[in-house]
Symmetry: C2
Subunit: 231 residues, 2 copies
């Protein structure tokens, strides 16, 4: 799976969250990071190039600060220019059909404000309806949005958890299935084993792998039991 | 009441609907039409000037083609630049508090598609949530959006009805109350009487006024009767 991360941010050098996210990404030929304001400082978009980039990737992620409940202007400009009729929708072209669309939203306000009675008054689900409608129109699968609330107040531990979830959002097939998460962790552990040379660390990794595999076996047994009961 | 119509449209000269709307507006010192792409062709917004314009008006209307379920990029850029903390919200400035925010949306797809099962899949109410949240945050009153579906297929009669409703949306206090609509029509008729010099036309106008006033009296009587019953 190849992922295209389309970032829109007018002042990215001042954004510690965007820097953190970019540094979180593994070096991989399967991930393309594409910061619109950097590529097109004069705002003139190369439509052919953008459409080609979209064709070459399976998961498309819009990553931006959630200004006024939407993206910065540059991404909207990109949408209006690149997602043209007969390329993105219409009878003579549905180039994005079957691909995935995700959102990584960096949000300054706390999560609890995004509900009835909160200062923002609406949920992220409701506020992102225009993107759901976009995915719908382009026959793309819309991923659960990935909102990052108040990065600046996160503890180191919260940031490490964020780093892992973000890597999964970008690289993991069937994002958000528990079974896929297990696989993903096992892959990460396998990679780690190549890199470490301390016997002690290797032992810890082996044990972690065993724990994950044991849990999976137990879960599968419970599942079989439940399925049996239902029948 | 003073109304500011902020238009965002990248190719307004090609838009028959935008031309129609602009020609529909009465000449009035109480209406300011402000086409962002024309005022700022290089995209550089004079923030002070825009904030001053907002201060000088009571009803703010965003008027734009509904591209990808939102505005063209220029209006979003305007929002992010002009609606700054301590001018529009925050402890040291709530300059828009108590004003009204309206949306005039020009939409190419038919109304029936904006629902579950339609090609667009969501209602205009849901898709405009980011603007509702904006009004909410700025402590503005959010007016019912004014969507114009498929202008290009409208009959002359439909266009005339549109013209009147649009004038009301822009100029009428308490937009959408029946009593205000009556008042508004009576004002229009009074203006007309100054302009016409045919006795026959004057007679017709007098009769129309009488009909409206009679209906109002009947409605008021029914209302008194209902109120009496309830007590």
């Amino acid at each position: 799976m190849k992922t295209l991360i389309i970032i829109s941010h007018p002042d990215i050098q001042d954004s510690s969250s965007q820097r953190f996210l970019q540094e979180s990404l593994p070096q991989s030929v399967d991930i393309t990071v594409h910061h619109l304001e950097a590529v097109y400082p004069d705002g003139k978009i190369d439509i052919q190039r953008e459409q080609q980039l979209l064709r070459e990737h399976n998961r498309i992620i819009f990553q931006f600060p959630f200004y006024w409940y939407s993206s910065p202007a540059m991404l909207k400009h990109w949408q209006d220019e690149v997602l043209a009729e007969n390329f993105a929708y219409g009878a003579r072209g549905r180039s994005l059909q079957g691909k995935e669309l995700g959102l990584v939203l960096v949000i300054g306000v706390g999560e609890k404000e995004y509900q009835v009675g909160g200062t923002e008054g609406f949920s992220i689900s409701t506020l992102t309806t225009p993107y759901q409608a976009l995915a719908n129109k382009l026959q793309m699968t819309f991923l659960k949005p990935f909102p990052i609330f108040q990065f600046q107040y996160m503890t180191e531990h919260e940031k490490m958890t964020l780093l892992l979830s973000y890597q999964q959002y970008v690289t993991m097939q069937n994002y958000d299935s528990l079974r896929e998460k297990e696989k993903w962790y096992l892959q990460q552990l396998a990679k780690l084993k190549i890199e470490v040379d301390s016997d002690h660390t290797l032992l810890v990794i082996d044990q972690m792998e065993e724990v994950i595999e044991d849990h999976r076996m137990e879960l599968d047994e419970i599942q079989m039991y439940i399925d049996g009961e239902v029948i």
